[in-house]
């Protein structure tokens, strides 16, 4: 069997035209050996979840700078659940106040990253999380 790659969807939900951060993170994850699918701007939660399903990604990373995270992030999570892929590693970042981060992290987001996070820290965290999951799956498993 070939080496299994970590597949990541980087997505920008909602009406937010600033994707410098998302593109930077996408490039960094690529340089850490991951396969990164970037879908472009103005994605609805349905579009993001559908892309995650079709691309069979391990990780969904949302980038948001518009302030609508408390509305859009839970909706993305709900759409993922609806498609039976609520178990993907869900993360994100952007301009998100600390108390909102806490609320989202209690609501199914594994971890959120704010401004000033070293990009390598994001890649390293994802790799560690996925290594744990891959190891757990290495034990025989059924189809999902």
């Amino acid at each position: 069997m070939n080496e299994r790659k970590i597949r990541v969807l980087v997505a920008k939900p909602g009406l937010d035209g600033h994707d410098r951060g998302a593109k930077t993170v996408a490039a960094v994850l690529r340089d850490h050996g991951m396969e990164v699918i970037y879908t472009g701007l103005h994605q609805t939660p349905e579009m993001i979840a559908e892309a995650a399903l079709q691309e069979d990604v391990d990780v969904v990373g949302l980038s948001i700078l518009s302030g609508a995270h408390m509305t859009l992030f839970p909706r993305v999570r709900a759409e993922l659940e609806k498609r039976g892929i609520g178990n993907v590693l869900l993360t994100g970042g952007g301009i998100i106040p600390a108390e909102d981060m806490q609320a989202l992290e209690q609501g199914g987001f594994a971890k959120l990253f704010g401004p000033g996070t070293p990009t390598d820290a994001i890649a390293t965290w994802i790799r560690q999380q996925m290594e744990k999951r891959f190891a757990a799956e290495a034990a025989p498993r059924g189809t999902r």
Partner: protein, 322 residues
Amino acid sequence: MPVVDPSSLSGRLVAGDRGALARLISWAENGDPRFAAELAPAWSRVGRAWRSGVTGPPGAGKSTLVNALAGRLRATDKRVGILAVDPTSPFTGGALLGDRIRMEERSSDPGVFIRSMASRGSHGGLARAAIDACDAMDVAGIDEILLETVGVGQAEFDVMSAVDTVIVTLCPGAGDGVQAMKAGILEVADVLVVNKCDIAGADRLATDLEDAVAARLSIARAAKQGWQPPIVSLSAALGNNIEGLVEAIGRHRAHLERSGLDQLRRARRVEQVRRVMLEHLGERLWGAGGLRELAERALAAGDPPYDVAERLAARVLRGANP
């Protein structure tokens, strides 16, 4: 048709379940043996989809063309599957897959399934994964498969030799007509597209291509089939003359169906069997047989590599426990 257990992954695939299709494609990419196990019960359903490959240099507008073509096919209610291949970095093993950006119009259409695939770079691995992915889409009930790969090279050629209709996309402003005549570009084409037909130089490019095709400059693949590749000028971004391309694909399909499509497809499957078998055999012999140690020892003793290879092959063929 044999009954497939509807609760199994292959059963879900046959029912068109997108999650099942996505997972099978991942297994195909990873070389996971579960792919073959799940596809086997549904194998008799493979062969109904038409497979078109879109290739051409970076920036020629392949993704935009695939998006426009998919839209046109959807208007006739065909279910469309898109497989978009982008390169893997040979340095980090990572890939940035951005073809979905230009396919956004299709992304909320339940009749379109889009999958991005990294080339991953192992010998023949891309062709194998791409063929497997197409087979899975075929079983899932997709009517038209559009396979997009960048550039011209051995790996791309291997992929393109596994589709029914090869569409080579070129655009003006990317070098003179001689660029388009470089080895490999014309030879694989069943249909030639001049994209960005609204840009200066498009007519000239189309004329150059016409001359090249008319002169039958080593149009090997098409010539073998008794087919002259048509040249379709269009603008994928503006949506001009996409119907011309749909029609050209249709004519090529009709031509192949008249001239022995089954035979052609069977020949491709024979090649697939040969590759898979040799890979399997090679891994087994090399891995478990201790051939590597023997080779290392012989080379350390100063033996030339061809002699070593021949001795090891003879040893295997003699049936000695290598």
